[in-house]
């Protein structure tokens, strides 16, 4: 610890003070660089079309209006369907919920089996699963389309859930496997002698110890699946499309004047859930990512 603090420049002397303030300045610039687009989106979504045409891009809204939001939510035309983003938002929820829960559950189960019930070839199996997380998603489009067709799930929410579960398993397994490696094997041995079965050990001992990595995995999967565009655009047809695809279609529907405020409101609606998840569970996310690196 002492070596860490002594490595920082001492806060005395004019030179040091200048260095310290320029450091802050650079950090502020970076923060602004990342925050400006968000600010721009929020500001524009609350403006009227007139104000957007006449005012400056970065100015705050003069007449605060929620019209664009409500229009984007339930009146905007996505293709020929003018029910707004709402049904697609619901589609995304219907897809994300089960996909996150199922992929996280099986990731935990895989990680548990791979670390605590080491069977012959467990490392090879893990290596192959790990390989899945390096696979570009475009590669699986065609085989997945065939599989979904074969299963009769093509174009449905169920099909999209399956795609996300399968693709996400590589990541969730990796997370849980690396977390469970640090949980002592003796716990499983003790529980085995105490008479607990494979699933009893999993539910009564492993899962209750998994909260940090559970949060990480859920946030990760939620973000990935909610933000997914490629699978949604490829495997969901018409009314079953997720919110990201709807947003794209809304912005690209060119009838009359471009309504930037509606576009921005729709984009905010599409992005809000992941933002909320990060704000609510962000600190657990950081904690979970660093869990295991520090003892205790």
């Amino acid at each position: 610890m002492s070596s860490l603090t002594s490595a920082l420049p001492p806060a005395q002397g004019t030179g040091a003070r200048i260095a310290r303030w320029s450091l802050y300045l650079i950090l502020l610039l970076f923060a602004a660089y990342y925050l400006l687009p968000l600010l721009l989106m929020i500001a524009t979504s609350f403006k009227s079309p007139e104000e957007i045409r006449t005012g400056s891009l970065l100015s705050l809204p003069r007449d605060f209006s929620l019209d664009a939001w409500s229009y984007a939510w339930n009146r905007a035309c996505i293709g020929a369907d003018c029910r707004g983003m709402a049904p697609y938002f619901l589609n995304s929820l219907v897809i994300v919920g089960p996909a996150v829960i199922i992929s996280t559950f099986f990731g935990a189960l895989n990680g548990y089996a791979l670390t605590k019930w080491r069977f012959r070839g467990a490392n090879i199996v893990f290596g192959m699963i790990l390989f899945g997380s390096f696979l570009p998603s475009q590669v699986i489009l065609l085989p997945m389309a065939q599989t979904l067709g074969f299963l009769g799930l093509a174009g449905s929410a169920g099909g999209l859930i399956l795609v996300h579960v399968v693709y996400g398993l590589a990541f969730t397994t990796l997370f849980f496997r690396n977390y469970y490696v640090s949980i002592p094997d003796d716990l499983v041995k003790a529980a085995t002698i105490d008479g607990a079965s494979f699933f009893q050990i999993f539910t009564k001992i492993m899962l209750p110890l998994s909260l940090p990595i559970l949060v990480v995995t859920i946030i990760w999967q939620f973000t990935q699946i909610w933000n997914d565009f490629l699978f949604g655009a490829s495997f969901a047809a018409g009314g079953a499309q997720p919110v990201t695809v709807a947003l794209n279609n809304l912005v690209n529907t060119t009838t009359g004047v471009k309504q930037y405020n509606v576009d921005m409101a729709a984009a905010m609606i599409a992005g809000l859930p992941t933002l909320v998840v990060y704000v609510l569970a962000g600190k657990y996310f950081i904690r979970g990512l660093t869990a295991g690196s520090v003892k205790g």
Partner: protein, 369 residues
């Protein structure tokens, strides 16, 4: 309470043989200590008794029943782990009662059993805490409680005291011994600590590289080690080994260790086979406490004591006695003398060796003669 018999048990990982035919038989209520350095296979053997490792060959019987294929939970054993392996998410009470919970025992019965065990181990006030809120010694007690509550036929201990500090380790050792005296349950206890082995065991099995070197009561292991490995593993400071030749002087057999004045050390009760070793090289093993300062009054009454004059190199007082490094005909040996014996470093003094406690070893096979 039960007997435990291990017949020609082997363990192989691929082509590596970790246990090379282990034979041990325990009578009811015995306290077996498996002693050896890390990697000798003692923990593997314990895990095989517990059913956590498969048995490559041979059989293990608990109370005459072959348990090779029996699931750990049905072997009627309980195990205490070095890491304690307490479930971090459960309270002490639930930790202790977990095996009963898994057996489907009703809650009131379970609570009664937990309370009984907690009272026995004096941890009643800890029942509502989580393991993270306990000290090392308290965790150790909870781990024992978890084993006790099952009332098993055999207790298995896997280096249970290694994670405790020195003082607590001695206290818990005594407590384990008291507990064993009280319950009379058969115990298998793995350790690398020779003191734990000596103090606790009714019999010790000393292992090295997957082979049992000696299986005998502690005192016998100490006084009549089966080979030089056992002799040097048990006892601190370790046994002195002096190379010499078995020879005869008059009608007495002895070991000659040089031409100088103390060159011939007559054996008190020579082993029967010693005659055939006449004229051959042997290794003489003498425990440090068998070499003491010469006292004419004691020497006169004990024909086994041989007087030798030695140069004194180093004195290491430990309080109870003084460890002394002396020069015996060119061999440096360790003697354990009383602090009241006045010898000076760098000087010469008379010592006496109790040849009744001497051991002879074959220099090639290192086995006891």
């Amino acid at each position: 309470m039960a007997t435990l018999s291990i017949n020609n048990v082997r363990k192989q990982y691929g082509s590596v043989e970790v246990l090379k035919g282990i034979d041990l038989d325990l009578t009811d209520g015995e306290f077996l200590v498996l002693l050896g350095p890390s990697g000798c296979g003692k923990s593997t053997l314990l895990n095989m008794i517990a059913g956590l490792e498969t048995i490559s060959a041979g059989e293990i019987r608990i109370d005459q029943r072959v348990v090779n294929e029996v699931h750990p939970k049905d072997r009627d054993i309980a195990m205490v782990f070095q890491s304690y392996a307490l479930y971090p998410n459960m309270t002490v009470a639930r930790n202790i009662g977990f095996s009963l919970e898994m057996r489907g025992q009703a809650k009131p019965e379970r609570e009664g059993a937990v309370r009984r065990v907690a009272r026995l181990l004096q941890i009643e006030h800890l029942l509502d805490r989580k393991p993270a809120q306990l000290s090392g010694g308290q965790r150790q007690r909870v781990a024992m409680g978890r084993a006790l509550v099952r009332d098993p036929k055999v207790f298995l201990f896997d280096e249970p005291l290694s994670n405790l500090d020195a003082k607590l380790r001695v206290d818990m050792r005594t407590e384990i011994k008291k507990l064993h005296q009280r319950l009379g349950t058969t115990v298998v206890y793995v350790t690398h600590d020779q003191i734990e082995a000596m103090t606790l065991a009714s019999r010790i099995a000393i292992m090295k590289e997957g082979v049992v070197q000696q299986f005998a009561p502690p005192q016998e292991v100490y006084e009549r080690p089966a080979n030089m490995y056992v002799a040097s593993f048990i006892g601190s400071p370790t046994m002195n080994f002096v190379r010499g030749t078995l020879s005869a002087e008059g009608d007495r057999l002895g070991v000659s260790i040089g031409r100088e004045r103390n060159g011939f050390l007559p054996l008190f009760q020579a082993p029967e086979q010693a005659g055939s070793w006449l004229g051959q090289e042997v290794i003489l093993g003498i425990r440090p406490e068998a070499i003491t300062c010469y006292d004419p009054a004691i020497a006169a009454g004990n024909p086994a004591l041989v007087k030798v004059a030695c140069g004194v190199n180093v004195l290491e007082p430990t309080g109870a006695d003084t460890i002394t490094y002396v020069e015996l005909n060119g061999h440096e040996v360790v003697a354990r003398i009383k602090p009241s014996d006045r010898v000076a470093e760098g000087g010469t003094a008379d010592f006496m060796i109790d040849m009744a406690r001497a051991n002879l070893f074959d220099p090639k096979t290192e086995q006891r003669i």
